[in-house]
């Protein structure tokens, strides 16, 4: 079959591909041109091409900044804890939803679980303030009216950490179940029936059928998550964080925002961005390699 015939027959598929492809070219590959800013003394008015090359000077400057290490540590710490707390949450939820037999209740729970995903972080920040505030937060109002000491959920760094993680679970766990639920539909129902006849209880079935069935999905998601270990969303730490807990809440993305957009030092901000990308790549490749060795599952 000549390629012209082939293309004629399948051109719709290519048309469909065009949009995502355009997305990657415009938003992922195009901006790579800007990476050179990290090696230049970027001048607003000369543009990227007109700015002078400075080699690795900016890298030296960034690696000498205390805030860089603080924010790097916090990024890794928050992401790692998130992985421990937020990663298993959708998995457990998905299995629970899957085991649920009452259809209307299942649908209702799913809807309620999905809602937080669609609320903007700015709004969540406002809600968090109202609920967890020390002086006038809802929870502390109850605690103090019962005669106990108020808990500084937002202003003590360790309490804040718990708040941060739980808010994350609340926001993302429901939405995260979708991918697992999709994978669960791929498991052959007969396996469950056979296991039931053989006398396997619910937990046994989950352990021997559901979880192995989900293994490839779990591994892929884990690898993707590890790849994001050094990159962290901007909104969540920025909105929930505050000056009293900056020791924990200041992360690479807020650091980049501060030195890049607020102080106009684009060169330094680009250095940090590039650093994140390189370390992220190392993490993905490392996780993929390990996973292939251990479980034969991987993403490439």
């Amino acid at each position: 079959m000549g390629w012209i015939v082939y293309f004629r027959r399948y051109w719709q598929l290519y048309a469909l591909l065009a949009l995502p492809l355009a997305y990657f070219i415009i938003f992922k590959y195009g901006p790579m041109y800007g990476i050179q800013i990290a090696f230049k003394d970027f001048n607003f008015f000369q543009g990227i091409a007109g700015s002078e090359w400075i080699g690795f000077d900016a890298f030296k400057e960034v690696f000498a900044m205390r805030d860089f290490y603080l924010t790097l540590r916090n990024t890794l710490m928050l992401n790692f804890l998130d992985l421990l707390v937020s990663f298993p949450a959708p998995l457990i939820l998905a299995i629970m939803l899957y085991e649920m037999k009452t259809v209307w209740f299942k649908k209702l729970s799913q809807t309620i679980l999905y809602i937080p995903h669609f609320i903007s972080w700015v709004i969540i920040g406002g809600i968090v303030y109202q609920v967890f505030g020390t002086q006038s937060g809802m929870i502390n109002n109850i605690i103090t009216s019962l005669g106990f000491e108020a808990i500084p959920f937002l202003t003590d760094k360790n309490d804040w950490l718990v708040t941060y993680l739980l808010v994350g679970v609340w926001q993302s766990a429901g939405w995260g179940t979708i991918i697992y639920l999709a994978a669960l539909t791929g498991i052959n129902k007969e396996l469950f029936e056979a296991a039931g006849i053989d006398g396997a209880g619910r937990l046994k079935r989950i352990w021997h059928i559901t979880l192995p069935g989900l293994k490839p999905t779990i591994v892929v998601l884990l690898i993707i998550n590890l790849g994001h270990m050094v990159s962290i969303g901007f909104e969540r730490p920025y909105v929930i964080g505050n000056l009293a807990v900056r020791e924990y809440s200041d992360v690479l993305s807020t650091f980049v925002y501060r030195i890049g957009l607020e102080s106009g030092q684009y060169t330094l901000a680009t250095v940090v961005g590039l650093f994140q990308a390189v370390v992220g790549l190392v993490f993905v490749l490392g996780a993929n390699y390990t996973s292939k060795k251990l479980t034969d599952e991987g993403i490439m």
Binding site: Q12, F44, R66, S136, P152, L243
Partner: protein, 543 residues
């Protein structure tokens, strides 16, 4: 039947694919059509009419408060400008909105984009101005002002213009402030009366008063009383902190002050630690809100004042007295509530020392890439000429204001139309911050008269307080580069230092203060100190 259904299914996918493809094409053509139209418009405007017809692009702050029927780029005042300045000069004035809350970030993006940058841009942040000037991105407006703007130069005066110089060159046109007073403090007079207490005159007396507020809860808040309203915004903490700063020599004043953004900060001045210690005491005794460190935008404070929980606080001088502002709402919530303007914080010398504004407002700049620099200067000149500024600031006589003793007084209960006319007045009259009527006295009077009549007495008192015992901003002979570079980071650290030391347990205060100060110095504070010391030496040598 089944075959038919299948056939339909395939048709369905085909159609879907087609639609997707079509959507793609449309998207791309839309984009290219758009850019084509843009080119045409800018190309067309050049060759139209006998006299050259040009477009002047002017930045405007968007506060998201446009009334129905107008937008920030199309409203009564923009039409007024077009009619009175644009038409006679063959200029189309086009406004480019920038959100007020992220003016610096957005401006940075605009400037870096090169082609889309407006011909007139501005910022309140001197560091941003210095950065642009240093990178060579601004037009030298000195010669243009000499040639085209005699009225503007006379209006601004030498002192104000001096703030727009970068290493001797006039790279910005600073706006002129009509009033340099900044802060006053406010106390619940009805609480004092109820407890039979006098108005506190010193910081020590204030402390006793706050304790009485806490213990006796005269507002009957049910234990929710916040004796001292505090936030992590400068209007609340600056009056307190600066009153602890000890008298210093000229040299110390120049070298130890740290200018971060547009304000001077006393991080290294003697007395700063005492101020933090005092705040720490207030916090640990429950006299300020436990969550003050979360309140960056004063929202929570405003709420607490309006619901009658706060006994005393500092604020921008006339801020509480606006129509539907804090006091107005408070009096609705708590009948009989009174807020008195007071001057309490006292320094070692018994003065109520507090910061003031520099005589300039924002920095108005013309990017170097602009081809309309002359028109831009003409626009500003027009604004400063005859009664144009007056009209922009006051609206229409009889509908918006009436003249009383040479002072425009806001019409009581103006019509909706008249009110909407002026919603963006402050952001359109860019050459001035506040109303200009020829003298400070008149300016202040006019400012007071535009406030609700029922609060006039307190407004006038607040303005007097704001201008009493003020600390002048420190002027250096040349811009401090380290401030430009580290300003934003250090401002964050400064605020963090206040929050952490205030919230520390009393026995941990010293340790936390030392750690934070060390971090501050290492993150740029030392660099600023060194540079300021060097520049001060130069200044001494030059004299």
């Amino acid at each position: 039947m089944i075959g038919n259904k299948q056939r339909k299914g395939i048709m369905g996918t085909k159609k879907a694919a087609l639609t997707a493809g079509l959507a793609c094409t449309l998207l791309f053509t839309a984009c290219s059509a758009n850019s084509g139209a843009g080119e045409e418009a800018s190309g067309g405007s050049g060759g139209e009419g006998a006299k050259e017809h040009v477009t002047l692009k002017v930045e405007v702050f968007d506060r998201g408060n446009s009334p129905a029927g107008s937008t920030i780029t199309d409203n009564y005042l923009t039409k007024y400008v077009q009619e009175n300045f644009g038409k006679p000069n063959n200029i189309d004035v086009e406004y480019v909105p920038v959100p007020r809350s992220e003016e610096v970030e957005k401006l940075n993006v605009l400037m870096a984009s090169g082609s889309n940058v407006p011909d007139i841009v501005f910022t309140y942040d001197p560091n941003t101005f210095n950065r642009y000037a240093k990178q060579g991105g601004l037009t030298d407006v000195g010669p243009l002002l000499d040639e085209h703007a005699p009225n503007l130069k006379a209006f601004l005066g030498e002192e104000v213009l001096g703030y727009g110089k970068f290493e001797g060159t006039q790279f910005a046109i600073p706006a002129k402030r009509s009033n340099v007073g900044k802060y006053a403090s406010f106390i619940r007079q009805d609480w004092l009366d109820k407890l039979g207490l006098p108005v506190p005159q010193t910081t020590d007396e204030l402390y006793e008063t706050l304790k009485a507020f806490k213990e006796k809860d005269p507002g009957e808040t049910g234990g929710q009383v916040i004796p001292l309203g505090m936030t992590i915004a400068s209007a609340q903490y600056e009056p307190l902190i600066w009153s602890f700063i000890k008298p210093v020599s000229e040299e110390e004043r120049h070298t130890l002050t740290q200018q971060l953004g547009s304000n001077d900060y006393p991080t290294l001045l003697p007395g700063f630690k005492d101020a933090l210690q005092f705040m720490n005491k207030l916090y640990n005794e429950g006299l300020i809100s436990k969550d003050f460190g979360l309140d960056k935008d004063k929202k929570k404070l405003g709420e607490d004042v309006a619901t009658g929980k706060v006994g005393f606080y500092s604020e921008d001088d006339i801020n509480p007295f606006y129509e539907k502002g804090s006091l107005d709402t408070l009096q609705q919530n708590v009948p009989g509530a009174q807020l008195a303007s007071v001057d309490v914080y006292t320094n070692e010398e018994g003065k109520h020392a507090k910061p003031m504004y520099a005589p300039n407002g924002m920095y108005i700049m013309i990017p170097k890439s602009s081809e309309r620099a002359v028109e831009a200067v003409k626009y500003l000149e027009w604004m400063a000429t005859s009664d144009n500024l007056f009209h922009l600031q006051n609206g229409i006589e009889g509908e918006n204001y009436t003249m009383v003793d040479d002072i425009p007084v806001a019409v009581e209960n103006p019509s909706e139309e008249a009110l909407n006319r002026m919603f963006n007045s402050g952001d359109m009259a860019i050459v001035s911050n506040g109303k200009q009527l020829g003298s400070m006295e008149k300016n202040l009077k006019a400012r007071a008269l535009q406030m609700p009549k029922k609060f006039l007495e307190q407004v006038e008192a607040a303005q007097v307080i704001a201008n009493a015992d003020v600390i002048e901003p420190v002027l250096m002979d040349r811009p401090i580069e380290a401030q430009t570079k580290y300003g934003t980071t250090l401002l964050d650290k400064f605020n963090e230092m206040i929050v952490k030391t205030t919230m520390a347990k009393p026995d941990q205060f010293d340790g936390i203060y030392e750690t934070m100060l060390k971090d501050y110095m290492a993150s740029g504070g030392q660099a600023i100190l060194d540079e300021r010391t060097a520049v001060y030496k130069e200044m001494q040598a030059a004299n």
